[in-house]
C-alpha cells in the first residue's frame, strides 16, 4: 500500500502565482451578462414587442379620437400628433418590460436553487452581496435604461415607416417631425421612467426576497399575501387599511405626479406630450417621504435577500 500515485506528483507548482482578485466592476459586468444569458426574455420580449409595433406602423391605421378630425390642421396640431404617436408606441414596450422584470425577479434566486446550480455559482469567488446586487442592477437600471434607449431608436424606425407611408400616399399627413418636441417627449418618458423605478423599487425588493426564500411556486407565494392580507383585515376588523396601502404603493406615484392634470385632448385641440413637463409634478414625487421610505425598505429587503442566500442551507 505504500507508494501511492500521488507520491509521484511534481514538487513545484504547475503555474506561477496569479493576481489576487478581480476588480469588483469587472466581476459585476460578468454577473450582469450572465443574467441576460439565463433570462433571455429580458431582451427578447422588448425586441419582439418592437418588431410587432413596427409591423403595426407599417400596416395599421391611425385613429384619432377627437370630435372634429378637421381640427388636426396646422403645424402645432401635427406636431402634437407626432408626439402622441411617439408616446403611444413606447408604452407597450414599458408594460412588457415591467412584466418581464417582475417574472425575472421572482425567478432569479429561485431557479438557481431549483436546479442546484447555486453550488456551482457559490464555488466561485463572488460574494452573495455582489450576486444579489447584480440582479437588482439588471432589474432597476439595465433593463429600464435599455428599454428607454430601445424605445428611442424604435421611434425613429416607426417615424421612418410612417413617413414613407405619407410619402407614398397611403397615410394622410397628420403628423410632422419637430426635434424640440421630440426631445421634450423623450425627456418626459425618461423622468417618468426614473421616478417609476425609484417608486417601484421596494416592490422589486419584495419579489427578490420571495425568490430567495420560498421553496416552491414563487409566483403563487408572492401574490398570496397581497391578496390574503386585505381579505383577512376586512374579515377581522372590517377595515381596508392594507388594501389602501397596497393600492397606494401600486398607484401612488401617478397621483403624486398629478397625471389627472395633464390633458392631451383639450377643447382647443391636441396638446403635445411635452406639455406634461409643465403639468406633471416631478417635485411632488421626489420630495415625497414615501418615496424615500420605500428606498430604505428596498435596501433592507436587498440585505435580507443577501442574508438568505448566504446562510440558506438546503441545497
Amino acid at each position: 500500500m505504500s507508494g501511492t500515485l500521488a507520491d509521484m506528483a511534481p514538487e513545484q507548482p504547475r503555474s506561477a502565482a496569479a493576481p489576487a482578485a478581480r476588480e469588483p466592476g469587472e466581476v459585476l459586468l460578468s454577473l450582469v451578462r450572465r443574467e441576460f444569458w439565463e433570462h433571455r426574455a429580458l431582451w427578447l420580449a422588448p425586441l419582439v414587442v418592437t418588431a410587432l409595433l413596427a409591423l403595426c406602423a407599417a400596416i395599421g391605421r391611425i385613429h384619432l379620437d377627437v370630435d372634429d378630425a378637421t381640427r388636426v390642421q396646422g403645424e402645432a396640431q401635427r406636431v402634437a400628433v407626432f408626439t402622441i404617436i411617439q408616446w403611444v408606441l413606447a408604452m407597450p414596450l414599458y408594460v412588457a418590460a415591467m412584466f418581464v422584470v417582475s417574472f425575472y425577479l421572482l425567478d432569479c434566486l429561485y431557479a438557481e436553487r431549483k436546479d442546484r446550480s447555486i453550488l456551482f455559482w457559490k464555488s466561485l469567488p463572488v460574494s452573495d452581496g455582489l450576486t444579489v446586487c447584480s440582479k437588482m442592477l439588471v432589474a432597476l437600471v439595465v433593463v429600464p435604461l435599455g428599454v428607454f434607449a430601445l424605445a428611442l431608436l424604435a421611434h425613429l424606425l416607426y417615424t421612418a415607416i410612417l413617413g414613407t407611408r405619407v410619402l407614398i400616399g397611403t397615410l394622410p399627413p397628420v403628423f410632422s417631425w419637430n426635434t424640440y418636441e421630440w426631445l421634450r417627449t423623450e425627456l418626459v418618458m425618461f423622468l417618468v421612467t426614473v421616478l417609476a423605478v425609484l417608486w417601484y423599487a421596494p416592490l422589486a425588493g419584495y419579489l427578490l426576497v420571495m425568490s430567495s426564500w420560498v421553496r416552491r411556486s414563487p409566483m403563487l407565494l408572492a401574490t398570496l399575501p397581497l391578496v390574503l392580507a386585505p381579505i383577512l383585515e376586512w374579515v377581522a376588523f372590517g377595515t381596508g387599511h392594507v388594501m389602501d396601502f397596497i393600492n397606494y404603493r401600486l398607484n401612488g406615484i401617478w397621483w403624486l405626479l398629478g397625471v389627472h392634470n395633464t390633458r392631451i385632448i383639450t377643447k382647443h385641440g391636441l396638446a403635445s406630450v411635452g406639455t406634461a413637463l409643465e403639468a406633471l409634478s416631478f417635485r411632488a414625487v421626489l420630495t415625497s417621504i414615501d418615496l424615500w421610505l420605500g428606498l430604505v425598505v428596498t435596501a433592507a429587503l436587498v440585505c435580507a435577500a443577501i442574508r438568505i442566500r448566504r446562510y440558506r442551507d438546503d441545497s
Partner: protein, 286 residues
C-alpha cells in the same frame, strides 16, 4: 508547514439529528485525502462547513481563514465540485469559460480550452445537451484551469460509467495535482481511489473513526486469513472485526506485530475498502 484544514470539535445538528458530533481532523498540504463514511455519516456536512456553506459550532480554519466569516476570500484559493450535474442547464460551454474567466482571478482559459479539445464537447453546446459524463468533464475543465490550493470533491464521479470515472481521476493526477495543492474528496467507490489517496479519514455518526496516512495503515492494521479451527486461538488477540468467507475466517487487528499473528495463517495489509467495512461494522467502531 501549517495545515490546510484544521477542524476541532465540529458539531452541527439538523433538528434531532446530529450530522457532526465533535468532528476533529487536520489535512496537511500536498495530500490527497479521502473522507470516507457510510450514508448519513456527516461527510457532506463536513465539506459544507469547510466551504463556508453551512454554520456549525467548533473550531475550523481552512487555509488559515474562517470559512464562515471569510468565505469570499477563501473561495479564491478553494475550488469545489459539489456533485455531478450542478452546472446550470441553460449555460453554454463558451459562456461557462467566459463567466469563470470574468470573475475568477486565477482562471487560465487556455488550460480549459486545451482540455476540452481532447473531449467531444463543443464550445457552442448547452449543458442540457451534454451527457452526464461530459458535464463532469466540463466541470473538471473549469477546475483544472483554476490555480487553487485546495480542491474539494463531493462524490464527483457519482453516476458515471467506469471509463469516465477512470479518466476523471487520471486527469486529476496528471494535469492538476502537485505538492503545493491539496485534494479532499468523498466517494462511495473506495476501490477506485484506493491507490490515489495519501490519507484516509473514516467518518461515522459525525465523528472520526480513523484518521491515518496510507503508509501508516500498513503498520497499524493487519488482516489475518486463517482456517476456522484456528479462529478461537487467534481471537484471544482481540480482532476488532471478523468475517467468514468459504469456510475460512478473515480477522482484522490493530496494533499487532507480524510476529504475533504470522503463526496463525496468511497475513496482509487490508485494503482501504476492507478496512472501512471492518471499522464500520466491527466491535471497534463506536
Amino acid at each position: 508547514m501549517t495545515a490546510v484544514i484544521e477542524a476541532r470539535g465540529l458539531t452541527k445538528s439538523y433538528g434531532a439529528t446530529r450530522a457532526l458530533d465533535g468532528l476533529s481532523f487536520s489535512v496537511e498540504p500536498g495530500r490527497i485525502v479521502g473522507l470516507i463514511g457510510p450514508n448519513g455519516a456527516g461527510k457532506t456536512t463536513a465539506l459544507k462547513a469547510i466551504l463556508g456553506l453551512t454554520t456549525f459550532t467548533g473550531e475550523l480554519r481552512v487555509l488559515g481563514l474562517d470559512p464562515c466569516r471569510e468565505r469570499d476570500a477563501l473561495m479564491r484559493d478553494v475550488c469545489f465540485i459539489a456533485d455531478v450535474a450542478v452546472l446550470p442547464r441553460w449555460l453554454r460551454v463558451s459562456q461557462a469559460l467566459d463567466f469563470v474567466g470574468g470573475v475568477h482571478p486565477r482562471f487560465d482559459r487556455t488550460v480549459a480550452e486545451n482540455f476540452l479539445r481532447k473531449t467531444d464537447i463543443h464550445m457552442g453546446s448547452r449543458v442540457r445537451e451534454l451527457s452526464k459524463g461530459m458535464v463532469t468533464q466540463l466541470h473538471l475543465a473549469l477546475v483544472l484551469a483554476i490555480d487553487a490550493r485546495l480542491l474539494v470533491l463531493d462524490e464527483p464521479t457519482l453516476g458515471l460509467d467506469l471509463l469516465y470515472r477512470r479518466s476523471f481521476y487520471d486527469t486529476l493526477l496528471n494535469d492538476y495535482f502537485d505538492k503545493q495543492r491539496t485534494i479532499l474528496l468523498t466517494t462511495h467507490q473506495v476501490e477506485e481511489v484506493e491507490n490515489l489517496l495519501t490519507d484516509v479519514i473514516f467518518v461515522n455518526h459525525g465523528r472520526v473513526a480513523l484518521s491515518a496516512s496510507v503508509e501508516d495503515l500498513g503498520s497499524r492494521y493487519q488482516q489475518l486469513t486463517l482456517a476456522a479451527e484456528q479462529a478461537a486461538r487467534a481471537r484471544a488477540l482481540q480482532p476488532f472485526y471478523e468475517r467468514e468467507v468459504f469456510g475460512r475466517v478473515a480477522m482484522f487487528f490493530e496494533g499487532r506485530t507480524p510476529a504475533e499473528l504470522g503463526t496463525f495463517g496468511e497475513l496482509r495489509t487490508p485494503s482501504i475498502a476492507d478496512l472501512f467495512v471492518a471499522k464500520m461494522q466491527g466491535t471497534g467502531s463506536r
